[in-house]
């Protein structure tokens, strides 16, 4: 098995560094067996990164890569899209199975525990203890999201928080005062109802009704606010059975009954944001990444923290990550160097702005370029502030299965096909089954 792997790794090295074949096949072998000392000095190592971005995020990433390549003569980063971030898990899985995979890839937070099972996924626990990383400078939500079973398995790439973006003009037209921090979910439901104007095709709010993770992550702040959690203590059963889950689903039911919620049945929830950007939706819970589009659409908007059930404010943060894969020591070392460089405040602040991320670490938020951005774009600071109240989904391998069961339940309740009780039973049974299968 090991020889097979070594051969596969060798083949991958040979295939990717094809141009350097002059060094001879043996060169690749010594490269992969050398134990990361100065043996590789003077020889250029090429690594492949699948960034999964498009538009402005892709441009800024490639600019950063160019800067890295110019300042690091021994490493060449080959920046590729790989696949858009939504389907990166499938792409990377296929690549791992095929034996020819990138050195670094952009992976959604909830997928990290799953991919971390791969023997090729690097364990960065020791690497990030090195002084250059300043690991504790990262926000806790970012660190939690990349930690699986106490081991650091990825580097934070993007971090967000959820807050409610609202259309000021629609609020004025309906004669409702703007929402304020500390509002409750009852306020939210009532406001959505008042904003709704079926004749004009105006909806109070929106919720993706595809039943995938896009449907589910929006309910966690409600569950947490009502005293529940994703997992019960011990982690062997779900933490939303009983009152907390019921309360969250009842709120969803009320929104559905009032017909004040636009239910987006298309994957990716683009339709929902289009409705908001066309000035036909009063409020939308979303992340900071949506702000550039909202600004472009010239919507007069404001940002307010998530409502509560009367308790402490809480929201969700959904971090995305860079995962590193083992293509031999020399390349692994180069990839680690690149990931570390990328997460330094000077680079991070630039990347965060165009990728629609919040600062990954405290010192990034102090960079002049970030401060200027936060001052220029309305609401960015509100999302940063919300990060203080943010919790993350647990890093467990079977989260996607648990999410699927909950997603079906939420969709059923929103569409009025299920009572909150029935929905909750389905979500709890499905979630517990997912956890027991682990």
């Amino acid at each position: 098995m090991t020889t097979k792997k070594a051969l596969a790794a060798l083949a991958a090295v040979a295939a990717i560094t094809g141009g350097l074949a002059a060094c001879g096949g043996g060169g690749g072998k010594t490269g992969s067996t050398a134990s990361g000392t100065d043996a590789d000095s003077g020889k250029r190592v090429t690594i492949t990164v699948w960034h999964g971005q498009n538009q402005s995020a892709e441009k800024v990433f490639n600019r950063l890569v160019d800067r890295f390549n110019a300042t690091h003569p021994n490493i060449h980063v080959d920046s590729q899209v790989g696949s858009l971030a939504d389907s990166m898990l499938q792409k990377v899985t296929a690549a791992l199975a095929g034996g020819k995979y990138p050195d670094m890839a952009y992976i959604f937070g909830p997928n990290v525990p799953n991919l971390a099972r791969s023997p090729k996924a690097l364990d960065l626990t020791d690497a990030v203890k090195q002084p250059g990383w300043n690991w504790n400078d990262f926000f806790p939500a970012a660190r939690t999201a990349v930690t699986v079973d106490g081991r650091v398995r990825a580097v934070p790439a993007v971090i967000d928080s959820m807050a409610v973006v609202y259309n000021k003009r629609l609020f004025q037209q309906a004669g409702i005062p703007a929402p304020k921090a500390g509002w409750t979910w009852d306020d939210y439901v009532a406001t959505a109802k008042k904003l709704t104007n079926a004749g004009k095709g105006v909806f109070g709010t929106g919720w993706p009704a595809t039943g995938d993770e896009d449907t589910v992550w929006r309910i966690w702040p409600m569950v947490w606010g009502a005293g529940g959690d994703v997992l019960a203590p011990g982690g062997t059963s779900v933490g939303y059975a009983g009152q907390s889950g019921l309360r969250a689903l009842s709120t969803a039911q009320q929104l559905g009954r009032d017909k004040s919620v636009y239910l987006d049945k298309t994957t990716g929830s683009e339709q929902m944001y289009r409705v908001f950007n066309n000035g036909r939706m009063g409020m939308v819970p979303t992340g900071p990444w949506e702000l550039p589009d909202i600004v472009d659409a010239k919507v007069d908007y404001g940002v307010v923290p998530m409502p509560t059930y009367g308790g402490k404010a809480v929201t969700i943060s959904g971090p995305d990550t860079w995962m590193l894969f083992d293509n031999g020591d020399a390349r692994a070392k180069a990839a680690t160097t690149f990931a570390q460089w990328l997460s330094q405040p000077a680079q991070d602040a630039v990347w965060d702005i165009d990728a629609g991320s919040l600062p990954l670490r405290r010192s990034s938020a102090d960079q002049a370029v970030w401060k200027r951005h936060a001052a220029q774009v309305d609401g960015v600071q509100d999302f940063v502030d919300a990060l203080g109240d943010a919790r993350v989904r647990p890093s467990i391998q079977n989260y996607p299965k648990l999410s699927e069961a909950f997603g079906q339940a939420i969709t059923g309740v929103l569409l009025g096909q299920k009572s909150p009780q029935d929905g909750l039973k389905q979500a709890v049974d499905g979630g517990n089954k997912a956890l027991q299968d682990q």
Binding site: Q90, L96, N114, S118, P119, G211, Q408, L415
Partner: protein
Amino acid sequence: MSTVFAQAPREAPPRAGPGAPRPAARRSLIQRVFGETPTAWLFVLPAVVIIIGLAIVPLVWSLLLSVQDKDPIAETTRYVGLRNYRDLFDDPAFTGAVNHTLVYTAFFVPLSILGGLGLALLLNRRIRFIGLYRTLAFVPVVVSATIQGVLFSFIFDDQFGVANALLDKVGIAPQPFFADGRQALALLVLASLWAGTSCISFCAVIFLAALQDVPRELAEAASIDGARPRGVFWHVTLPALLPVLVFLLLWQTVEAIQLFDIVYGSTSGGPGQSTVVVVYYIYRSIRDVAYGTGAAASYVVAGGLLLITAATALVARRRAASRWAA
């Protein structure tokens, strides 16, 4: 081996001629392996490679996968025998998918064939511009099913769709359409009847071709004998269409069971699981890296199709035999 050798020397090829024993011997060696005309193999070789590489190998490969629990991430593979198949029938999502597929097939097949027959009868007339009508009737066949799925999901959106706006104009309460499982399945039937490679128009084209093969004299003779148009249709035209009818029945059933692209383009299996059909279930399993489950489900579907085809062939053969006997 020796028997082959014994059989091998046959009549010498006339062009080999005398005095050239060596080339003749070598050729006979090739002939022993590749038969009388070895060059023929060269001509079929590309096709053979393609068929083996793209059909046979994946077939065997997925059979292997279906008895394995393969985890491509953790890089473990375990032989689990028939467990994937057992799990499949314990999975309500799969049994649901089978049900949805059967309901869809039960509506789609008769409706598409009856509709196609009706359209073909309309188009089988000698009227002005008939060529234009026939061309137009064929247009829906070339519409991409995925695009059509997206189009239908826009038209029948329960909150923004044109369909509900029209219903509102005539005073009918708005319908949930794709937000309701049953209506969503009905809309899928409607969408595939409307356009795509197995729509009503496709059936009409096939029927039309068959109709034009029905000898005109037969119909004329029948009407001279006093048959009314309906009688001519029942006793002359329809029996002549029977072989085509059997073909379409089989073809449309296979197409219905393989429904995927419209589901992918419109509902993605939703709302809930209510429009997950078997092929969509397979796609979803593979997408979620459950290779074993996906492969097992593929074999179940392939088995079903095989049964249906075999049953049809059997019925057709028996009918032919009974007619012969009569």
